[in-house]
Symmetry: C2
Subunit: 327 residues, 2 copies
Protein backbone atom coordinates (compact mmCIF):
# COMPACT_ATOMS: atom_id res chain seq x y z
CA UNK A 1 0.00 0.00 0.00
CA UNK A 2 1.33 3.39 -1.02
CA UNK A 3 -0.02 5.98 1.45
CA UNK A 4 0.24 8.97 -0.83
CA UNK A 5 -1.67 7.19 -3.61
CA UNK A 6 -4.44 6.15 -1.25
CA UNK A 7 -4.74 9.67 0.13
CA UNK A 8 -4.71 11.13 -3.36
CA UNK A 9 -7.64 8.94 -4.40
CA UNK A 10 -9.73 10.06 -1.42
CA UNK A 11 -8.69 13.68 -1.88
CA UNK A 12 -9.89 13.63 -5.49
CA UNK A 13 -13.38 12.53 -4.40
CA UNK A 14 -13.47 15.14 -1.67
CA UNK A 15 -12.23 17.94 -3.92
CA UNK A 16 -14.96 17.24 -6.44
CA UNK A 17 -17.59 17.30 -3.72
CA UNK A 18 -16.20 20.50 -2.19
CA UNK A 19 -16.14 22.25 -5.54
CA UNK A 20 -19.78 21.42 -6.09
CA UNK A 21 -20.74 22.46 -2.55
CA UNK A 22 -18.98 25.81 -2.94
CA UNK A 23 -20.89 26.63 -6.10
CA UNK A 24 -23.57 28.26 -3.99
CA UNK A 25 -25.21 31.62 -3.49
CA UNK A 26 -25.84 34.68 -5.61
CA UNK A 27 -22.98 37.05 -4.81
CA UNK A 28 -19.95 36.70 -7.08
CA UNK A 29 -17.41 38.31 -4.74
CA UNK A 30 -18.57 36.31 -1.75
CA UNK A 31 -18.38 33.09 -3.76
CA UNK A 32 -14.81 33.83 -4.80
CA UNK A 33 -13.79 34.74 -1.27
CA UNK A 34 -15.38 31.56 0.11
CA UNK A 35 -13.55 29.37 -2.43
CA UNK A 36 -10.20 31.14 -2.13
CA UNK A 37 -8.61 28.70 0.34
CA UNK A 38 -10.51 25.50 -0.51
CA UNK A 39 -9.57 25.85 -4.19
CA UNK A 40 -5.90 26.42 -3.32
CA UNK A 41 -5.57 22.81 -2.23
CA UNK A 42 -4.81 21.50 1.20
CA UNK A 43 -4.34 18.06 2.64
CA UNK A 44 -8.09 17.50 3.29
CA UNK A 45 -7.00 15.50 6.31
CA UNK A 46 -10.30 15.87 8.16
CA UNK A 47 -12.61 14.49 5.46
CA UNK A 48 -10.00 11.84 4.57
CA UNK A 49 -10.04 10.72 8.20
CA UNK A 50 -13.83 10.70 8.29
CA UNK A 51 -13.93 8.45 5.21
CA UNK A 52 -11.23 6.14 6.53
CA UNK A 53 -13.03 5.61 9.82
CA UNK A 54 -16.33 5.01 8.07
CA UNK A 55 -14.61 2.39 5.95
CA UNK A 56 -12.76 0.90 8.91
CA UNK A 57 -15.99 0.17 10.82
CA UNK A 58 -18.27 -0.92 7.97
CA UNK A 59 -16.93 -0.10 4.54
CA UNK A 60 -19.45 2.77 4.50
CA UNK A 61 -16.86 5.52 4.11
CA UNK A 62 -18.67 7.07 1.16
CA UNK A 63 -21.65 7.96 3.31
CA UNK A 64 -19.42 10.09 5.52
CA UNK A 65 -18.35 12.43 2.70
CA UNK A 66 -20.86 15.25 3.34
CA UNK A 67 -19.98 15.26 7.04
CA UNK A 68 -16.25 15.27 6.23
CA UNK A 69 -16.75 18.12 3.79
CA UNK A 70 -18.70 20.05 6.43
CA UNK A 71 -15.66 19.76 8.71
CA UNK A 72 -13.33 20.84 5.90
CA UNK A 73 -15.51 23.93 5.41
CA UNK A 74 -15.33 24.62 9.13
CA UNK A 75 -11.56 24.21 9.01
CA UNK A 76 -11.38 26.70 6.14
CA UNK A 77 -13.67 29.15 7.91
CA UNK A 78 -11.35 29.15 10.94
CA UNK A 79 -8.34 29.74 8.67
CA UNK A 80 -10.00 32.77 7.07
CA UNK A 81 -10.83 34.35 10.44
CA UNK A 82 -7.53 33.36 12.09
CA UNK A 83 -5.55 34.98 9.29
CA UNK A 84 -7.40 38.26 9.87
CA UNK A 85 -6.67 38.09 13.60
CA UNK A 86 -3.02 37.10 13.17
CA UNK A 87 -2.61 39.57 10.28
CA UNK A 88 -1.09 36.78 8.18
CA UNK A 89 -0.60 37.75 4.56
CA UNK A 90 0.00 34.29 3.15
CA UNK A 91 -1.56 30.84 3.38
CA UNK A 92 -0.97 27.74 1.25
CA UNK A 93 1.44 29.79 -0.87
CA UNK A 94 -1.21 32.33 -1.87
CA UNK A 95 -2.32 35.63 -0.40
CA UNK A 96 -4.75 35.38 2.49
CA UNK A 97 -8.45 36.15 1.93
CA UNK A 98 -8.44 39.53 3.69
CA UNK A 99 -5.34 40.53 1.70
CA UNK A 100 -6.88 39.69 -1.69
CA UNK A 101 -10.34 41.03 -0.79
CA UNK A 102 -10.62 43.09 2.40
CA UNK A 103 -11.25 42.47 6.10
CA UNK A 104 -15.05 42.89 5.94
CA UNK A 105 -15.36 40.51 2.98
CA UNK A 106 -13.10 37.99 4.75
CA UNK A 107 -15.22 38.15 7.90
CA UNK A 108 -18.37 37.51 5.84
CA UNK A 109 -16.73 34.77 3.76
CA UNK A 110 -15.76 32.98 6.98
CA UNK A 111 -19.30 33.30 8.32
CA UNK A 112 -20.73 32.01 5.05
CA UNK A 113 -18.37 28.99 5.02
CA UNK A 114 -19.42 28.32 8.61
CA UNK A 115 -23.13 28.35 7.75
CA UNK A 116 -22.55 26.32 4.58
CA UNK A 117 -20.91 23.66 6.77
CA UNK A 118 -24.11 23.27 8.79
CA UNK A 119 -26.16 23.26 5.59
CA UNK A 120 -24.04 20.35 4.33
CA UNK A 121 -24.28 18.66 7.71
CA UNK A 122 -28.08 18.72 7.48
CA UNK A 123 -27.82 16.53 4.36
CA UNK A 124 -25.80 13.79 6.08
CA UNK A 125 -27.12 10.36 5.13
CA UNK A 126 -27.71 9.01 8.60
CA UNK A 127 -30.57 8.42 11.02
CA UNK A 128 -32.19 11.65 12.18
CA UNK A 129 -31.31 10.85 15.80
CA UNK A 130 -27.62 10.52 14.90
CA UNK A 131 -27.80 13.78 13.03
CA UNK A 132 -28.99 15.52 16.19
CA UNK A 133 -25.95 14.15 18.03
CA UNK A 134 -23.60 15.16 15.21
CA UNK A 135 -25.10 18.65 15.19
CA UNK A 136 -24.51 19.04 18.90
CA UNK A 137 -20.95 17.70 18.70
CA UNK A 138 -20.11 19.90 15.73
CA UNK A 139 -21.52 23.05 17.26
CA UNK A 140 -19.74 22.43 20.58
CA UNK A 141 -16.50 21.75 18.71
CA UNK A 142 -16.63 25.05 16.84
CA UNK A 143 -17.21 26.90 20.10
CA UNK A 144 -14.29 25.04 21.66
CA UNK A 145 -12.11 25.96 18.66
CA UNK A 146 -13.05 29.60 19.23
CA UNK A 147 -11.95 29.25 22.86
CA UNK A 148 -8.66 27.75 21.72
CA UNK A 149 -8.05 30.66 19.37
CA UNK A 150 -8.85 33.11 22.16
CA UNK A 151 -6.38 31.34 24.48
CA UNK A 152 -3.75 31.36 21.73
CA UNK A 153 -4.12 35.12 21.35
CA UNK A 154 -4.01 35.72 25.09
CA UNK A 155 -0.79 33.69 25.31
CA UNK A 156 0.96 36.22 23.08
CA UNK A 157 1.22 38.74 25.87
CA UNK A 158 2.38 36.22 28.49
CA UNK A 159 5.85 34.81 29.15
CA UNK A 160 4.68 32.24 31.69
CA UNK A 161 2.52 29.94 29.56
CA UNK A 162 2.91 26.41 30.94
CA UNK A 163 3.14 23.26 28.87
CA UNK A 164 -0.24 22.19 30.27
CA UNK A 165 -1.84 25.40 29.14
CA UNK A 166 -0.29 25.03 25.71
CA UNK A 167 -1.60 21.47 25.43
CA UNK A 168 -5.09 22.57 26.53
CA UNK A 169 -5.00 25.29 23.91
CA UNK A 170 -4.04 23.03 20.98
CA UNK A 171 -6.46 20.42 22.27
CA UNK A 172 -9.22 22.98 21.76
CA UNK A 173 -7.95 24.75 18.69
CA UNK A 174 -6.74 21.80 16.63
CA UNK A 175 -7.26 18.34 18.10
CA UNK A 176 -10.99 18.86 18.77
CA UNK A 177 -11.81 19.01 15.05
CA UNK A 178 -9.64 15.99 14.22
CA UNK A 179 -11.37 14.11 17.00
CA UNK A 180 -14.78 15.07 15.64
CA UNK A 181 -13.75 13.94 12.16
CA UNK A 182 -12.78 10.44 13.28
CA UNK A 183 -15.63 10.13 15.78
CA UNK A 184 -18.20 11.26 13.22
CA UNK A 185 -16.80 8.88 10.61
CA UNK A 186 -17.13 5.92 12.96
CA UNK A 187 -20.62 7.03 14.06
CA UNK A 188 -22.01 7.55 10.56
CA UNK A 189 -20.31 4.35 9.46
CA UNK A 190 -22.29 2.48 12.11
CA UNK A 191 -19.44 1.62 14.50
CA UNK A 192 -20.05 0.27 18.00
CA UNK A 193 -20.02 2.64 20.95
CA UNK A 194 -16.51 1.48 21.84
CA UNK A 195 -15.28 1.94 18.29
CA UNK A 196 -16.71 5.46 18.19
CA UNK A 197 -14.96 6.20 21.48
CA UNK A 198 -11.58 4.91 20.29
CA UNK A 199 -11.99 6.64 16.93
CA UNK A 200 -12.49 9.89 18.82
CA UNK A 201 -9.30 9.28 20.81
CA UNK A 202 -7.34 8.39 17.70
CA UNK A 203 -8.33 11.69 16.11
CA UNK A 204 -7.52 13.64 19.25
CA UNK A 205 -4.02 12.18 19.61
CA UNK A 206 -3.35 12.52 15.90
CA UNK A 207 -4.46 16.14 16.08
CA UNK A 208 -2.16 16.87 19.02
CA UNK A 209 0.78 15.33 17.14
CA UNK A 210 -0.24 17.21 14.01
CA UNK A 211 -0.24 20.59 15.75
CA UNK A 212 3.09 20.01 17.50
CA UNK A 213 4.62 19.00 14.16
CA UNK A 214 3.07 22.15 12.69
CA UNK A 215 4.77 24.22 15.36
CA UNK A 216 8.10 22.55 14.56
CA UNK A 217 7.66 23.31 10.85
CA UNK A 218 6.81 26.90 11.76
CA UNK A 219 10.26 27.19 13.33
CA UNK A 220 12.49 25.13 11.06
CA UNK A 221 10.41 24.13 8.02
CA UNK A 222 11.24 25.00 4.43
CA UNK A 223 9.42 28.21 3.50
CA UNK A 224 8.89 27.11 -0.11
CA UNK A 225 7.39 23.82 1.03
CA UNK A 226 5.07 25.03 3.79
CA UNK A 227 3.82 28.04 1.80
CA UNK A 228 4.20 30.72 4.48
CA UNK A 229 7.12 32.70 5.91
CA UNK A 230 9.01 30.52 8.39
CA UNK A 231 10.10 33.23 10.78
CA UNK A 232 6.57 34.48 11.43
CA UNK A 233 5.95 32.33 14.52
CA UNK A 234 9.15 33.76 16.05
CA UNK A 235 8.38 37.33 14.93
CA UNK A 236 4.82 37.04 16.25
CA UNK A 237 6.08 35.59 19.55
CA UNK A 238 3.78 32.60 19.13
CA UNK A 239 3.63 30.44 22.28
CA UNK A 240 4.26 27.05 20.73
CA UNK A 241 5.49 24.10 22.79
CA UNK A 242 8.97 24.98 21.54
CA UNK A 243 8.77 28.52 22.86
CA UNK A 244 7.25 27.32 26.14
CA UNK A 245 10.13 24.89 26.60
CA UNK A 246 12.68 27.57 25.70
CA UNK A 247 11.17 29.98 28.24
CA UNK A 248 11.51 27.27 30.86
CA UNK A 249 15.06 26.19 30.07
CA UNK A 250 16.99 29.11 28.61
CA UNK A 251 19.44 30.88 30.91
CA UNK A 252 21.90 33.76 30.76
CA UNK A 253 22.99 35.24 27.43
CA UNK A 254 21.07 32.73 25.33
CA UNK A 255 17.86 33.72 27.15
CA UNK A 256 18.61 37.39 26.75
CA UNK A 257 19.32 37.06 23.03
CA UNK A 258 16.20 34.91 22.50
CA UNK A 259 13.99 37.45 24.25
CA UNK A 260 15.41 40.20 22.03
CA UNK A 261 14.30 38.38 18.91
CA UNK A 262 11.14 36.55 20.01
CA UNK A 263 8.07 38.68 19.37
CA UNK A 264 10.08 41.33 17.54
CA UNK A 265 8.08 41.96 14.41
CA UNK A 266 10.96 43.62 12.59
CA UNK A 267 13.49 40.86 13.29
CA UNK A 268 15.71 40.26 10.21
CA UNK A 269 16.73 36.96 8.67
CA UNK A 270 19.97 36.77 10.65
CA UNK A 271 18.10 37.21 13.89
CA UNK A 272 15.57 34.54 12.94
CA UNK A 273 18.48 32.17 12.25
CA UNK A 274 19.98 33.03 15.62
CA UNK A 275 16.70 32.27 17.39
CA UNK A 276 16.36 28.98 15.51
CA UNK A 277 19.90 27.99 16.55
CA UNK A 278 19.21 28.90 20.19
CA UNK A 279 16.04 26.76 20.20
CA UNK A 280 18.00 23.92 18.64
CA UNK A 281 20.84 24.12 21.17
CA UNK A 282 18.36 24.29 24.05
CA UNK A 283 16.89 21.00 22.84
CA UNK A 284 13.43 22.63 22.53
CA UNK A 285 12.78 21.38 19.00
CA UNK A 286 13.89 17.86 19.89
CA UNK A 287 11.67 17.96 22.96
CA UNK A 288 8.68 18.98 20.84
CA UNK A 289 9.26 16.12 18.42
CA UNK A 290 9.44 13.72 21.36
CA UNK A 291 5.99 14.95 22.48
CA UNK A 292 4.65 14.49 18.96
CA UNK A 293 6.04 10.95 18.93
CA UNK A 294 4.31 10.17 22.20
CA UNK A 295 0.96 11.30 20.81
CA UNK A 296 1.65 9.16 17.75
CA UNK A 297 2.13 6.11 19.96
CA UNK A 298 -1.19 6.84 21.71
CA UNK A 299 -2.92 7.22 18.36
CA UNK A 300 -1.58 3.84 17.28
CA UNK A 301 -2.89 2.31 20.49
CA UNK A 302 -6.38 3.67 19.92
CA UNK A 303 -6.48 1.77 16.63
CA UNK A 304 -6.12 -1.60 18.33
CA UNK A 305 -9.87 -2.06 18.70
CA UNK A 306 -10.42 -2.03 14.94
CA UNK A 307 -10.18 -5.19 12.87
CA UNK A 308 -7.30 -5.52 10.45
CA UNK A 309 -8.12 -3.89 7.12
CA UNK A 310 -6.52 -1.83 4.42
CA UNK A 311 -8.06 1.28 6.01
CA UNK A 312 -6.54 0.46 9.37
CA UNK A 313 -3.13 0.23 7.70
CA UNK A 314 -3.69 3.64 6.13
CA UNK A 315 -4.74 5.10 9.48
CA UNK A 316 -1.52 3.76 11.00
CA UNK A 317 0.63 5.09 8.17
CA UNK A 318 -1.15 8.42 8.45
CA UNK A 319 0.02 8.83 12.04
CA UNK A 320 3.64 8.49 11.03
CA UNK A 321 3.13 10.72 8.03
CA UNK A 322 1.54 13.46 10.13
CA UNK A 323 4.24 13.62 12.78
CA UNK A 324 7.15 13.41 10.33
CA UNK A 325 5.78 15.50 7.46
CA UNK A 326 7.79 18.36 6.00
CA UNK A 327 4.75 20.43 5.05
CA UNK B 1 -54.67 43.46 25.82
CA UNK B 2 -51.70 45.72 26.46
CA UNK B 3 -49.03 44.87 23.87
CA UNK B 4 -46.06 46.13 25.83
CA UNK B 5 -47.06 44.08 28.89
CA UNK B 6 -47.47 40.91 26.84
CA UNK B 7 -44.11 41.44 25.18
CA UNK B 8 -42.48 42.18 28.51
CA UNK B 9 -43.72 38.88 29.95
CA UNK B 10 -42.29 36.90 27.05
CA UNK B 11 -39.06 38.90 27.09
CA UNK B 12 -38.52 38.07 30.75
CA UNK B 13 -38.72 34.33 30.04
CA UNK B 14 -36.37 34.67 27.07
CA UNK B 15 -33.87 36.81 28.95
CA UNK B 16 -33.62 34.24 31.72
CA UNK B 17 -33.05 31.48 29.21
CA UNK B 18 -30.47 33.52 27.30
CA UNK B 19 -28.58 34.35 30.45
CA UNK B 20 -28.33 30.69 31.34
CA UNK B 21 -27.31 29.71 27.79
CA UNK B 22 -24.56 32.32 27.74
CA UNK B 23 -23.03 30.99 30.94
CA UNK B 24 -20.89 28.66 28.87
CA UNK B 25 -17.24 27.92 28.18
CA UNK B 26 -13.98 28.33 30.03
CA UNK B 27 -12.56 31.62 28.82
CA UNK B 28 -13.55 34.65 30.89
CA UNK B 29 -12.86 37.30 28.23
CA UNK B 30 -14.68 35.37 25.53
CA UNK B 31 -17.69 34.90 27.81
CA UNK B 32 -17.84 38.61 28.53
CA UNK B 33 -17.51 39.51 24.87
CA UNK B 34 -20.24 37.02 23.92
CA UNK B 35 -22.65 38.44 26.51
CA UNK B 36 -21.88 42.09 25.80
CA UNK B 37 -24.83 42.73 23.46
CA UNK B 38 -27.32 40.14 24.76
CA UNK B 39 -26.98 41.48 28.29
CA UNK B 40 -27.48 45.07 27.12
CA UNK B 41 -31.11 44.35 26.36
CA UNK B 42 -32.83 44.41 23.02
CA UNK B 43 -36.37 43.81 21.87
CA UNK B 44 -35.93 39.99 21.54
CA UNK B 45 -38.37 40.23 18.66
CA UNK B 46 -37.25 36.99 17.01
CA UNK B 47 -37.75 34.65 19.99
CA UNK B 48 -40.93 36.53 20.94
CA UNK B 49 -42.26 35.86 17.45
CA UNK B 50 -41.26 32.21 17.64
CA UNK B 51 -43.18 31.81 20.91
CA UNK B 52 -46.21 33.67 19.62
CA UNK B 53 -46.46 31.50 16.52
CA UNK B 54 -46.02 28.33 18.56
CA UNK B 55 -48.85 29.50 20.78
CA UNK B 56 -50.99 30.59 17.84
CA UNK B 57 -50.96 27.13 16.23
CA UNK B 58 -51.18 24.93 19.33
CA UNK B 59 -50.50 26.75 22.57
CA UNK B 60 -47.08 25.08 22.53
CA UNK B 61 -45.10 28.31 22.48
CA UNK B 62 -42.92 27.27 25.39
CA UNK B 63 -41.39 24.44 23.38
CA UNK B 64 -40.12 26.94 20.83
CA UNK B 65 -37.99 28.87 23.34
CA UNK B 66 -34.65 27.14 22.61
CA UNK B 67 -35.13 27.65 18.89
CA UNK B 68 -36.07 31.28 19.40
CA UNK B 69 -33.02 31.80 21.62
CA UNK B 70 -30.82 30.19 18.95
CA UNK B 71 -32.10 32.81 16.50
CA UNK B 72 -31.51 35.60 19.02
CA UNK B 73 -27.90 34.37 19.38
CA UNK B 74 -27.55 34.38 15.58
CA UNK B 75 -28.96 37.90 15.48
CA UNK B 76 -26.42 39.01 18.09
CA UNK B 77 -23.57 37.28 16.28
CA UNK B 78 -24.40 39.22 13.10
CA UNK B 79 -24.51 42.48 15.09
CA UNK B 80 -21.03 41.84 16.50
CA UNK B 81 -19.52 41.15 13.08
CA UNK B 82 -21.48 43.89 11.28
CA UNK B 83 -20.27 46.48 13.78
CA UNK B 84 -16.66 45.51 13.03
CA UNK B 85 -17.27 45.83 9.29
CA UNK B 86 -19.18 49.10 9.56
CA UNK B 87 -16.73 50.42 12.17
CA UNK B 88 -19.66 51.34 14.39
CA UNK B 89 -18.62 52.41 17.87
CA UNK B 90 -22.01 52.21 19.54
CA UNK B 91 -24.91 49.79 19.75
CA UNK B 92 -27.90 49.73 22.11
CA UNK B 93 -26.44 52.77 23.84
CA UNK B 94 -23.21 51.00 24.80
CA UNK B 95 -19.83 50.67 23.12
CA UNK B 96 -19.62 48.00 20.44
CA UNK B 97 -17.85 44.70 21.18
CA UNK B 98 -14.73 45.44 19.11
CA UNK B 99 -14.46 48.85 20.78
CA UNK B 100 -14.61 47.48 24.34
CA UNK B 101 -12.44 44.44 23.57
CA UNK B 102 -10.63 44.40 20.23
CA UNK B 103 -11.32 43.29 16.66
CA UNK B 104 -9.87 39.76 17.04
CA UNK B 105 -11.86 39.12 20.23
CA UNK B 106 -15.00 40.46 18.56
CA UNK B 107 -14.51 38.17 15.55
CA UNK B 108 -14.12 35.18 17.88
CA UNK B 109 -17.04 36.22 20.08
CA UNK B 110 -19.25 36.38 16.99
CA UNK B 111 -18.09 32.94 15.88
CA UNK B 112 -18.71 31.53 19.35
CA UNK B 113 -22.23 33.01 19.47
CA UNK B 114 -22.85 31.46 16.06
CA UNK B 115 -21.75 28.00 17.19
CA UNK B 116 -23.65 28.32 20.46
CA UNK B 117 -26.78 28.99 18.42
CA UNK B 118 -26.44 25.62 16.69
CA UNK B 119 -25.68 23.96 20.00
CA UNK B 120 -28.95 25.34 21.37
CA UNK B 121 -30.75 24.35 18.18
CA UNK B 122 -29.64 20.73 18.68
CA UNK B 123 -31.59 20.70 21.96
CA UNK B 124 -34.88 21.76 20.36
CA UNK B 125 -37.77 19.67 21.72
CA UNK B 126 -39.14 18.43 18.45
CA UNK B 127 -39.11 15.30 16.28
CA UNK B 128 -35.64 14.48 14.95
CA UNK B 129 -36.90 14.78 11.38
CA UNK B 130 -38.17 18.31 12.04
CA UNK B 131 -34.84 19.17 13.62
CA UNK B 132 -33.08 18.22 10.38
CA UNK B 133 -35.35 20.60 8.48
CA UNK B 134 -34.82 23.38 11.02
CA UNK B 135 -31.06 22.86 10.83
CA UNK B 136 -31.12 23.19 7.06
CA UNK B 137 -33.35 26.26 7.14
CA UNK B 138 -31.27 27.93 9.83
CA UNK B 139 -27.94 27.26 8.10
CA UNK B 140 -29.27 28.50 4.74
CA UNK B 141 -30.68 31.60 6.43
CA UNK B 142 -27.32 32.51 7.99
CA UNK B 143 -25.63 32.15 4.62
CA UNK B 144 -28.31 34.31 3.04
CA UNK B 145 -27.81 36.92 5.78
CA UNK B 146 -24.09 36.93 4.93
CA UNK B 147 -24.98 37.55 1.29
CA UNK B 148 -27.24 40.41 2.32
CA UNK B 149 -24.44 41.99 4.36
CA UNK B 150 -22.06 41.60 1.40
CA UNK B 151 -24.60 43.30 -0.91
CA UNK B 152 -25.09 46.08 1.64
CA UNK B 153 -21.35 46.76 1.68
CA UNK B 154 -21.08 46.67 -2.10
CA UNK B 155 -23.91 49.19 -2.35
CA UNK B 156 -21.82 51.75 -0.49
CA UNK B 157 -19.64 52.40 -3.53
CA UNK B 158 -22.57 52.60 -5.96
CA UNK B 159 -24.90 55.51 -6.76
CA UNK B 160 -27.24 53.48 -8.95
CA UNK B 161 -28.71 50.99 -6.47
CA UNK B 162 -32.31 50.31 -7.52
CA UNK B 163 -35.25 49.88 -5.20
CA UNK B 164 -35.46 46.23 -6.25
CA UNK B 165 -31.85 45.65 -5.30
CA UNK B 166 -32.40 47.35 -1.97
CA UNK B 167 -35.44 45.19 -1.26
CA UNK B 168 -33.53 42.03 -2.21
CA UNK B 169 -30.74 43.06 0.14
CA UNK B 170 -32.96 43.68 3.17
CA UNK B 171 -34.90 40.54 2.31
CA UNK B 172 -31.67 38.61 2.78
CA UNK B 173 -30.09 40.60 5.57
CA UNK B 174 -33.10 41.18 7.81
CA UNK B 175 -36.39 39.62 6.71
CA UNK B 176 -34.93 36.11 6.26
CA UNK B 177 -34.31 35.72 10.00
CA UNK B 178 -37.75 37.09 10.94
CA UNK B 179 -39.27 34.65 8.48
CA UNK B 180 -37.32 31.77 9.98
CA UNK B 181 -38.45 32.79 13.48
CA UNK B 182 -42.13 32.70 12.61
CA UNK B 183 -41.86 29.63 10.37
CA UNK B 184 -39.87 27.71 12.98
CA UNK B 185 -42.34 28.67 15.71
CA UNK B 186 -45.28 27.35 13.66
CA UNK B 187 -43.34 24.20 12.71
CA UNK B 188 -42.21 23.33 16.24
CA UNK B 189 -45.68 24.20 17.52
CA UNK B 190 -47.10 21.57 15.17
CA UNK B 191 -48.89 23.85 12.70
CA UNK B 192 -50.25 22.58 9.39
CA UNK B 193 -48.19 22.96 6.23
CA UNK B 194 -50.32 25.93 5.20
CA UNK B 195 -49.98 27.58 8.62
CA UNK B 196 -46.20 27.15 8.49
CA UNK B 197 -46.18 28.71 5.02
CA UNK B 198 -48.27 31.71 6.09
CA UNK B 199 -46.25 32.10 9.29
CA UNK B 200 -43.13 32.29 7.15
CA UNK B 201 -44.72 35.01 4.99
CA UNK B 202 -45.90 36.95 8.04
CA UNK B 203 -42.32 37.01 9.36
CA UNK B 204 -40.91 38.03 6.02
CA UNK B 205 -43.30 40.96 5.55
CA UNK B 206 -42.89 42.04 9.16
CA UNK B 207 -39.10 41.90 8.71
CA UNK B 208 -39.25 44.04 5.57
CA UNK B 209 -41.38 46.61 7.37
CA UNK B 210 -39.08 46.44 10.37
CA UNK B 211 -35.97 47.17 8.32
CA UNK B 212 -37.55 50.03 6.41
CA UNK B 213 -38.69 51.56 9.69
CA UNK B 214 -35.15 51.04 10.99
CA UNK B 215 -33.81 52.98 8.03
CA UNK B 216 -36.24 55.79 8.74
CA UNK B 217 -35.15 55.92 12.38
CA UNK B 218 -31.52 55.96 11.21
CA UNK B 219 -32.29 59.20 9.37
CA UNK B 220 -34.70 61.01 11.65
CA UNK B 221 -34.88 59.04 14.92
CA UNK B 222 -34.04 60.39 18.33
CA UNK B 223 -30.41 59.59 19.10
CA UNK B 224 -31.08 59.13 22.80
CA UNK B 225 -33.91 56.72 22.10
CA UNK B 226 -32.29 54.54 19.41
CA UNK B 227 -28.93 54.34 21.18
CA UNK B 228 -26.66 55.15 18.26
CA UNK B 229 -25.65 58.35 16.45
CA UNK B 230 -28.41 59.35 14.06
CA UNK B 231 -26.24 60.87 11.36
CA UNK B 232 -24.17 57.74 10.84
CA UNK B 233 -26.28 56.29 8.02
CA UNK B 234 -25.87 59.58 6.15
CA UNK B 235 -22.16 59.90 6.97
CA UNK B 236 -21.57 56.27 5.93
CA UNK B 237 -23.51 56.77 2.72
CA UNK B 238 -25.76 53.86 3.56
CA UNK B 239 -28.01 52.86 0.65
CA UNK B 240 -31.34 52.72 2.44
CA UNK B 241 -34.64 52.93 0.59
CA UNK B 242 -34.66 56.61 1.53
CA UNK B 243 -31.30 57.22 -0.11
CA UNK B 244 -32.26 55.14 -3.15
CA UNK B 245 -35.41 57.23 -3.58
CA UNK B 246 -33.44 60.45 -3.12
CA UNK B 247 -30.90 59.40 -5.76
CA UNK B 248 -33.79 58.77 -8.15
CA UNK B 249 -35.73 61.96 -7.50
CA UNK B 250 -33.34 64.72 -6.44
CA UNK B 251 -32.45 67.31 -9.06
CA UNK B 252 -30.32 70.45 -9.38
CA UNK B 253 -28.99 72.22 -6.28
CA UNK B 254 -30.73 69.90 -3.84
CA UNK B 255 -29.07 66.89 -5.48
CA UNK B 256 -25.68 68.65 -5.47
CA UNK B 257 -25.96 69.58 -1.80
CA UNK B 258 -27.13 66.07 -0.86
CA UNK B 259 -24.20 64.43 -2.68
CA UNK B 260 -21.79 66.74 -0.84
CA UNK B 261 -23.02 65.49 2.52
CA UNK B 262 -24.00 61.87 1.82
CA UNK B 263 -21.07 59.53 2.47
CA UNK B 264 -18.95 62.36 3.89
CA UNK B 265 -17.59 60.89 7.11
CA UNK B 266 -16.64 64.26 8.53
CA UNK B 267 -20.03 65.88 7.94
CA UNK B 268 -20.97 68.14 10.86
CA UNK B 269 -24.31 68.41 12.65
CA UNK B 270 -25.51 71.28 10.46
CA UNK B 271 -24.82 69.29 7.33
CA UNK B 272 -26.63 66.25 8.70
CA UNK B 273 -29.65 68.48 9.42
CA UNK B 274 -29.46 69.82 5.87
CA UNK B 275 -29.43 66.30 4.43
CA UNK B 276 -32.37 65.32 6.61
CA UNK B 277 -34.33 68.36 5.43
CA UNK B 278 -33.54 67.59 1.78
CA UNK B 279 -34.73 64.00 2.19
CA UNK B 280 -37.90 65.27 3.84
CA UNK B 281 -38.64 67.80 1.12
CA UNK B 282 -38.01 65.19 -1.57
CA UNK B 283 -40.67 63.02 0.05
CA UNK B 284 -38.18 60.17 0.45
CA UNK B 285 -38.95 59.55 4.12
CA UNK B 286 -42.69 59.61 3.47
CA UNK B 287 -42.22 57.22 0.58
CA UNK B 288 -40.27 54.82 2.80
CA UNK B 289 -43.01 54.86 5.43
CA UNK B 290 -45.56 54.11 2.71
CA UNK B 291 -43.55 51.03 1.72
CA UNK B 292 -43.37 49.93 5.36
CA UNK B 293 -47.15 50.37 5.62
CA UNK B 294 -47.66 48.17 2.55
CA UNK B 295 -45.58 45.39 4.09
CA UNK B 296 -47.59 45.78 7.27
CA UNK B 297 -50.81 45.23 5.31
CA UNK B 298 -49.34 42.06 3.76
CA UNK B 299 -48.26 40.81 7.16
CA UNK B 300 -51.79 41.32 8.46
CA UNK B 301 -53.16 39.35 5.50
CA UNK B 302 -50.83 36.41 6.21
CA UNK B 303 -52.41 36.13 9.65
CA UNK B 304 -55.87 35.43 8.24
CA UNK B 305 -55.32 31.66 8.20
CA UNK B 306 -54.87 31.51 11.97
CA UNK B 307 -57.82 31.10 14.31
CA UNK B 308 -58.74 34.00 16.52
CA UNK B 309 -56.73 33.94 19.74
CA UNK B 310 -54.98 36.27 22.12
CA UNK B 311 -51.69 35.49 20.34
CA UNK B 312 -53.14 36.41 16.98
CA UNK B 313 -54.16 39.77 18.43
CA UNK B 314 -50.64 40.29 19.72
CA UNK B 315 -49.19 39.35 16.31
CA UNK B 316 -51.45 41.95 14.71
CA UNK B 317 -50.56 44.61 17.23
CA UNK B 318 -46.89 43.78 16.77
CA UNK B 319 -47.06 44.67 13.09
CA UNK B 320 -48.32 48.14 13.87
CA UNK B 321 -45.83 48.52 16.69
CA UNK B 322 -42.90 47.54 14.46
CA UNK B 323 -43.66 49.91 11.62
CA UNK B 324 -44.51 52.86 13.85
CA UNK B 325 -41.93 52.38 16.61
CA UNK B 326 -39.62 55.20 17.65
CA UNK B 327 -36.72 52.91 18.59
Amino acid sequence: MELSEELEKKRAVINKELESLLDVGENATLKKAMSHYPSAGGKRLRPVLTMLLGDAVSGEGKRTIPFGCALELIHNFTLVHDDIMDEDEFRRGIKSVHTVFDVPTAIIAGDALFSLAFEVLSATETEDSKLRKLLEDTAVTVRVIAEGQQMDMEFESRDDVSEDEYLTMIGKKTASLFSLATKGGALIGGGTEEQVEEASKYGRFLGMGFQIRDDILGIKGDEKVIGKPVGSDIRNGKRTIIAVKAFEDLKGDERKRFLEIFGNESAGEEEIKDAQAILDRAGAIKYAQKCADEYAAKAHKALEIFEESKEKEILKALVDFVILREK
